[in-house]
Amino acid sequence: TQLLEQSPQFLSIQEGENLTVYCNSSSVFSSLQWYRQEPGEGPVLLVTVVTGGEVKKLKRLTFQFGDARKDSSLHITAAQPGDTGLYLCAGVDGGANSKLTFGKGITLSVRP
């Protein structure tokens, strides 16, 4: 079983601060995805990273895939209250069935 560990589990910051959260595994993934989930809703895909070392930016969010394709980070610049939510990473195995395994998530609260 491929496990994804996300850290920290909980994070509460002030609006305008920067933050970085992590997704780590001992397994290699063919790609890795980040989702955001808001209360009462399903997760929504933010980004997919595929190549080791790849960096993708989505407005104030920067995602990086580790060189060995085992870990990833998410950096948010100048956090806003609208960034509040549960951030999930999910690893895709390289098999034909492309199974998606999720971490437990990081609960982020951005205070106005």
Partner: protein, 117 residues
């Protein structure tokens, strides 16, 4: 606006009762997933289908859970008999083959919130 539709949104039932959750995937999507989410375990994959055939149900307790796709527009997850430890949010998601490819997004429904008392 295409979306995954799940019913019921909320269900409270007594222990021992049968529970059936339904999912209508996005039209044209050939891969359907069932996930369960709890505070303790996070999102756990229960089962998934491609072209209506079950690919992996290793995460599903076989003695009481069953998942089927009677046709391309309907996926069902059944629990019989239900137990309090089954209380969770059950999500259905759909997508195209090669999940995890940047061009292929999986879309989640809003979930079925199950409470077994």
């Amino acid at each position: 606006d295409a979306r995954v539709t799940q019913t019921p949104r909320h269900k409270v039932t007594e222990m021992g009762q049968e529970v059936t959750m339904r999912c209508q995937p996005i039209l044209g999507h050939n891969t359907v997933f069932w996930y369960r989410q709890t505070m303790m375990q996070g999102l756990e994959l229960l089962a998934y289908f491609r072209n209506r055939a079950p690919l992996d149900d290793s995460g599903m307790p076989k003695d009481r859970f069953s998942a089927e796709m009677p046709d391309a527009t309907l996926a069902t997850l059944k629990i019989q008999p239900s137990e309090p430890r089954d209380s969770a949010v059950y999500f259905c998601a759909s997508g195209l083959s090669q999940t995890g490819h940047p061009g292929n997004t999986i879309y989640f429904g809003e979930g079925s919130w199950l409470t077994v008392v």
